[in-house]
Amino acid sequence: KPETAAALKRTVEALMERGAIVRNLENLGERSLPYKISKHKERHKRGGYFLIDVEAPPSIVSPMMDHLGRDIDVIRRAFIKRPVAKAEECGGIIPASPEDKLTARKN
């Protein structure tokens, strides 16, 4: 456990060094991975999942991926856009009119 804490601290410091604002850090628990992952010459079966909410310039992404790739404690890394809470406009299934079906293009 102190190793995970140290790894997290390293990551957050690296992020802040490059000028990112860390908003939130969530621990999604430690569970057994869905499939065995081999990384850094080791086959991993259990891992801890952490979610870091970050506000950062996009130029940070590649150097950070590099940095995390070199870290042995990190098994898998990913940068995902924060999903904006969009308006709940789901108006149900609107049946397509026959004219639409005539001129429809298969996309």
Partner: protein, 91 residues
């Protein structure tokens, strides 16, 4: 004289199962409900019965969950095997 108006007896538009529910790559349970328990493949629109948008969102979330290691790829997580069935599939 008849008054022109919109059909007052019209049914409200049919809603799919996920209408109004936010789809996230993190809730593996929801995502696993649209995946085959034997092969782990994502069910098509004719099986899940979801609207266009939601089907796309689900499939993108499932693929993302595969990549970041949240959801197993070749099978369904056995923890979620006894979930209520949302898709009209007959084995």
């Amino acid at each position: 004289q008849p008054v022109q108006m919109e059909n007052p007896y019209k049914d409200p538009p049919k809603r799919c199962v996920l209408c109004g529910i936010n789809v996230d790559y993190k809730n593996v349970q929801l995502l696993s409900q649209f995946v085959s328990p034997y092969t782990g493949s994502i069910y098509g629109r004719h099986i899940t019965g979801l609207c266009n948008k939601k089907q796309k969102e689900i499939s993108k979330a499932i693929k993302r969950a595969h990549v970041v290691g949240f959801m197993p790829v070749m099978f369904k997580n056995p923890q979620f095997l006894t979930d209520p069935n949302l898709c009209n599939i007959k084995y």
